[in-house]
């Protein structure tokens, strides 16, 4: 595959000619990529100057140029915030739980759906598990209240009717992360199966038939045929997920947050939201975003390297 000419050939002339000829050879590919390239240049590269706002005291009315430079002030303020380590811990805890639960559940669910032979039953259930994705967090939060609260919650009514003491699930520090995780699993697991189901659709049915002939049971078929087929997809999604290790859906957290669980609920995204959007301090929001981005980039690059070492196709 490798073209020998490209590797540090002595004459620069030869190099450029070969590069040019390779470009010409791929001209159709470039043509295909043109719309996407243009999009990236105009809509993604164009506004990137906005990242510099992290180093300014941006005043919307004065504009970029007239706003004063702030240097690393917003970053030092973030790091010096007495809550920094609390936010770090909470962000990581919620994301690690997400990695352990939110990530695998859709895979398992997709495998289960894939094993259903009755077509109509499969289609109906597939549609049903997508539905929670369409509820807004506001609705999910009020449903959670309806189920778990100590005053009107269904669960507590059951506990009390059995002679137990009602439990304040929503205002106790110990339950918060679990609750956030459970909510996300419920809302997004079904929707998350789509990609895996699409990957499974690529498996040649003849392989299953051959396996049956060889006497492989269902577990073996899943383990030796289906899972390897979706492995590249799992790896890619995992690497991409790592890039978001510092993101926590702030809307969900803000809605479930209350003064008694503040110590486990405050995350970087809520910080960015209150300072950046509510108080109109654009620069702080950008600085937090940049901080999260740098960590995300590091994680993606590292993960991709590890994945490649393990013999998988990375994301690049």
């Amino acid at each position: 595959m490798e073209q020998p000419v490209t590797v540090s050939s002595p004459g620069g002339q030869a190099h450029s000619v070969s590069l040019w000829s390779r470009i010409v050879k791929h001209r159709t590919i470039y043509l295909l990529m043109l719309p996407g390239l243009l999009f990236f240049i105009v809509f993604k590269f164009g506004p990137l100057w906005g990242l510099l706002l992290a180093f300014k005291d941006y005043n919307p009315y004065l504009g970029f140029a007239a706003s004063e430079w702030a240097g690393f002030d917003h970053f030092t303020a973030l790091f010096a915030d007495p809550n920094f380590y609390v936010m770090l811990r909470n962000t990581l805890a919620i994301n690690l739980l997400g990695l352990v639960f939110n990530f695998p559940v859709p895979i398992v669910l997709a495998l289960m759906l894939n094993e259903i032979r009755h077509e109509t039953f499969k289609r109906i259930n597939q549609s049903i598990v997508y539905m929670p994705h369409f509820l807004s967090w506001v609705v999910v939060a009020s449903m959670t209240y309806f189920i778990l609260s100590a005053d009107v919650g269904i669960i507590n009514k059951i506990i009390v009717s059995w002679g137990g003491e009602s439990v304040s699930f929503l205002s106790q520090v110990n339950y918060f992360w679990a609750m956030i995780t459970a909510q996300s699993v419920w809302k997004e697991a079904g929707w998350g199966t789509i990609i895996f189901l699409a990957a499974m659709a690529g498996v040649d049915p003849q392989r299953y038939e051959a396996a049956v002939v060889d006497g492989a049971n269902r577990w073996k078929q899943i383990w030796h045929i289906t899972l390897p087929a979706i492995r590249p997809t799992i790896v890619i999604l995992l690497v991409l997920r790592l890039g978001n290790m510092f993101d926590v859906g702030f809307e969900q957290v803000l809605l479930m947050m209350n003064p008694l669980v503040m110590s486990v609920a405050e995350v970087f995204d809520t910080y960015a939201y209150t300072r950046g959007i509510l108080q109109g301090n654009v620069s702080v929001g950008v600085a937090v975003g940049m901080f999260k981005g740098i960590i995300g980039l590091l994680l993606i690059v590292t993960a991709n390297r590890i994945v490649k070492k393990m013999g998988q196709e990375g994301i690049y």
Binding site: L48, L53, R117, M200, A201, T233, I236
Partner: protein, 292 residues
């Protein structure tokens, strides 16, 4: 597919079917409430009461939403954005991702590096808004379509899908004298139907539910999309933004029936589009499409 049907259900099947049924129940339960309340007569609706069936059927909530000023406009423009936007999303994403599968392409590293950069860094609201304004797209539906033509996350997944296609077919086609374009159109696209179906769903749902961009880029309220319009019907004193803006005191309390009807509306595209896409998620569909 027929080979499996003849089999008798095993213990594995029983467990699997029951589990799926249980999960579906957990997922659908709240929607029974959502649907029932949306069809309940607002006159008899009582908060903090669980409805499995409407006590008194009524289409009031839907009629109210439909009778809203410029609902028809909003509906039409949202359909336009969804259809045109999704089509362009698919074209741009799949062509670009196909190029990204060529890892020996000159400039590959540069382009890929940039795509990954945009995955984790975004410029933020203000620069994006100023860009749209510079391009003269303020108040145009194209601002919504063009600013979301594709995204790094989708590209990387589509690229991985395309890379997992059997390369023999491509090679064979090339030997048969197919051009790059021919290979893309005749081999890659037909083989990618599951991925296309998946992303049709993703893109369509995203366009249908677009709210924030529509809010900031469209200044003329007659051009609003469905979600912006619906949001004004259900301004929620629970939403943190509204509360922080001190708006909740002035905001009119929404009726629960209308709020629930608006949720049903937001699910419309999946209810309409999904049945057509579903066959592409079936086992072994990919090879079938090539052979057929």
């Amino acid at each position: 597919m027929s080979f499996v049907k003849s089999k008798k259900p095993t213990a594995f099947d029983w467990v699997n079917y029951s589990l799926i049924l249980l999960i579906s129940l957990v997922c659908i339960f709240p929607f029974l409430y959502v649907f029932s309340v949306s069809f309940t007569d607002p006159e008899v609706y009582v908060p903090l009461k669980f409805y499995l069936f409407p006590e008194k059927w009524s289409l009031d909530a839907y009629q109210y939403i439909l009778s809203t000023n410029s609902f028809l406009n909003a509906f039409k423009s949202t359909v336009f954005i969804t259809v045109v936007g999704t089509a362009l999303n698919l074209i741009v994403s799949f062509t670009f991702a196909y190029g990204l599968t060529k890892r020996t392409l000159p400039g590959y590293k540069l382009i890929m590096g940039f795509v990954i950069f945009t995955l984790v860094f975004s410029a933020g609201i203000v620069p994006n808004y100023l860009l749209i304004r510079e391009l003269g797209l303020i108040n145009s539906y194209w601002s919504l379509i063009l600013s979301s033509l594709t995204n790094a996350w989708s590209l990387i997944i589509i690229k991985s899908f395309l890379e997992s296609l059997p390369s023999e077919l491509e090679d064979a086609a090339q030997i048969d004298g197919c051009s790059d374009l021919g290979v893309f159109w005749r081999i890659v696209i037909p083989l990618s139907m599951p991925a296309i179906a998946t992303f049709t769903l993703f893109f369509a749902v995203a366009h249908w539910n677009t709210y924030f961009n529509a809010l900031i880029y469209l200044t003329d309220s007659n051009k609003w999309t469905l979600q912006v319009l619906v949001k004004t019907l259900v301004i929620d004193s629970n939403s943190s933004a509204a509360a922080a803006a001190g708006a909740s005191d002035e905001a009119v309390m929404p009726q629960e029936t209308i709020r629930m009807a608006s949720i049903v509306l937001s699910m419309l595209p999946i209810l309409v589009v999904y049945p057509f896409l579903q066959k592409h998620f079936a086992k072994g569909v990919m090879l079938g499409s090539v052979k057929g």
